[in-house]
Assembly symmetry: C2
Homo-oligomer: 305 residues x 2
C-alpha cells in the first residue's frame, strides 16, 4: 500500500536511529526523507522524534503513533485476507513466535496439515524465549505465540493452555533409566545439561531446586535444546525438556521420563495472542487448529498414563 509509505519511513527512521541511515535503507535521499518526516510532523501536529546530536529517537508521541500504525497495518492485512476469502481462494500469512520445544515435531506437523488444506497460506516461524514472545505480539511482529511458561503480561491473551511436565532426557543405559519415579535430587546428583535461565524449563528447575535447598549446576549450559538432546548421548548425562519436544528414537538409544510432580510441578504450554486484537482469518483458523491439536495431544497423553 503506497499510501502507508510515510509510516514505513517513520518506522525505518525509528529503527535506524538516524535519518541518513534510514534513507539509505529505504532507497531515498536524506533530504527527501527529512522533508517527509518534517511534513508529516507538521500535519500531525506534534514532533515524533527527539533530535539528538548524532541522530534521532522516537519520543512518546512517536511511540504512540508507531503503535497505531502497526495495529492499523495488521488490521489492513486482516481485511485483505477477508477480501481474498470473498473472491474464493484462501490466501494469507501466519506468523507465530514459539518456544524451541515446538520445532522438532509439533509445529512442522501442524503447519503441514494446515498447508495441505490451504496451499495459499504461508508461514513465518520465529523462535523466541518466553520474554521475547510477548513483545513480539505487542509489536505486531507475530500473530500468535506458543510458549512454555510465558511471563504473563497485561497484553497477553490466552487462547489455549496445556500442562507439560519437565522430563529428564537420558541414554537408555543411564542408572536412572530403570527407576519407577525420578526425583529431582537424584537428577542433580548426576552430571546434567540444562538450558539457560531465559527458559521456562530452567526456571521451574531452579525454583524446585531452591525449595529443596539444592542447586542446578549443569556441566553444560546452553540455549539449544537440540544440543541438550544430542549431548546426553555422548557424556551419558541428564538433559531436561518438555515432552511435546521429545520422541523416542527408533534405535532406542534415548529415553525420557517425567520428574516426580512432588518435586517439579508441571508448567503450562500456552497458545496466546495480543489482547483484544482481531487476527487475520488465516491466523485465527490456524490458532483454532492448534488449540484442537493441543487438546487432542493432552487427551492422548492422559489416556496413556
Amino acid at each position: 500500500m503506497r499510501y502507508l509509505q510515510t509510516f514505513r519511513l517513520i518506522e525505518a527512521v525509528a529503527r535506524a536511529g538516524s535519518m541518513r541511515k534510514a534513507a539509505e535503507d529505504m532507497n531515498l535521499t536524506a533530504s527527501a526523507l527529512n522533508r517527509r518526516i518534517n511534513g508529516f510532523e507538521e500535519e500531525f501536529g506534534a514532533e515524533l522524534f527527539e533530535r539528538l546530536p548524532g541522530g534521532v529517537r522516537l519520543n512518546p508521541a512517536g511511540e504512540l503513533l508507531l503503535h497505531h500504525y502497526r495495529a492499523m497495518a495488521s488490521d489492513l492485512e486482516r481485511v485483505q485476507g477477508q477480501v481474498a476469502d470473498l473472491t474464493g481462494e484462501r490466501r494469507g500469512h501466519v506468523s507465530i513466535a514459539c518456544s524451541q520445544a515446538l520445532l522438532p515435531y509439533f509445529l512442522p506437523e501442524q503447519i503441514a496439515i494446515y498447508r495441505a488444506a490451504h496451499p495459499g497460506v504461508t508461514f513465518s516461524v520465529n523462535v523466541r524465549d518466553r520474554a521475547q514472545a510477548e513483545q513480539e505480539l505487542a509489536s505486531y511482529s507475530s500473530d500468535l505465540a506458543l510458549v512454555f511458561e510465558p511471563i504473563y503480561l497485561v497484553d497477553f491473551e490466552v487462547i489455549h493452555a496445556i500442562p507439560q511436565t519437565v522430563d529428564v532426557v537420558m541414554r537408555s543405559d543411564h542408572p536412572l533409566a530403570s527407576r519407577d519415579e525420578i526425583r529431582l535430587r537424584d537428577c542433580l546428583d548426576y552430571p546434567h545439561v540444562a538450558p539457560t535461565h531465559r527458559f521456562g524449563v530452567r526456571h521451574l528447575l531452579d525454583f524446585a531446586a531452591r525449595r529443596g535447598s539444592r542447586q542446578v549446576s549443569p556441566v553444560v549450559e546452553t540455549e539449544s535444546f537440540e544440543l541438550i538432546r544430542h549431548y546426553v548421548l555422548h557424556e551419558n548425562a541428564l538433559g531436561f525438556q518438555i515432552p511435546i519436544g521429545l520422541k523416542i528414537p527408533n534405535d532406542g538409544s534415548l529415553m525420557f521420563r517425567p520428574i516426580s510432580e512432588r518435586d517439579v510441578p508441571p508448567g503450562n504450554l500456552i497458545l496466546g495472542q495480543l489482547r483484544g486484537r482481531t487476527l487475520p482469518v488465516a491466523s485465527a483458523r490456524f490458532a483454532m487448529q492448534l488449540a484442537t491439536a493441543l487438546k487432542d495431544y493432552q487427551l492422548a497423553r492422559e489416556s496413556i498414563v
Copy 2:
C-alpha cells in the same frame, strides 16, 4: 491527514452512489477521482465498487475496507488526543448520540461541567432514536450513545445503566393531579399525547396497554417530546416522558408523576459505546463523568422516594 484522502474519496463515492457526484462534492474532476479509485483498487487487489449502469455501489470488499478505514480514522483521532494530552493541554472532540429526553437538562449541564474543566474539548450532540443510535456507533459517527431502552445489538457495550419510570406529564389542574397513585388505565381514559412507536416510552406504554387489553390512542402523536410538554398546557391532556427530561416549572403550571410500576415497569436509560473500541481520551473521560452523574442522579431520586 492528507494521506487518508483516498479513503475519504472512497467514502464520498459510496455515499453519493456516483463518481461524478462525489467528485463534485469533493471539489475534484470526475476523471481525477476515477483514476484514484481505479488506482487504489488495483493496488488493493480487488474492486471496491460494483459498476452499475447509472452509478456505482460498494461491493462486500468495499464495505469491509470502509469499515476498516472508519475504525482506523477513529483510532488515529484517539492517538492525536493522547498526544495532545502529552503536550499538556487537553484537546479533543466528543460525539454523542442521545435520546431527546437528555436534551433539556441533563446533557447541557454535563457538557458545561466538562467544558468548564477542559475548554479545549468540543462536542457534537446527535439526537437519534434507539435504533439509529447503535448504527451511529457502528459507523464510528458517534463515540457514545445515551439512549432510553435501546434495542440491544451485538456491537453495543453498556457502560452504565439506570432505571427510569415512565411519567405522566399534566397540568396541575388535571383530574389525575391529586391522585396518590396513577394507573395506566386512568391515563388511557383521558385524552393523551404520545410519542411515535420509534421511541422507548411508547414501546413500554404499548406493551403495558396490550397486557391490560387496552390500547394507546393518542389525540396527538409526535416525534417531539418538547411538543408533548407544551401541548398538555393547551388541551389539558396527558403526556408521557421519562423523569430525566422533566423539571417542575417555577409557575407550577406543569407537574409529572410516575405511572404505577404495577402497570408499566421502568425502562433503562443506557450509556454505551461500540463493543471493543478504545475511545478517544476526551470521550472516555466524558463517559466516566456521565456514568458518575447518572449514578448520583439515581441515588438522589431514590433518597427522595
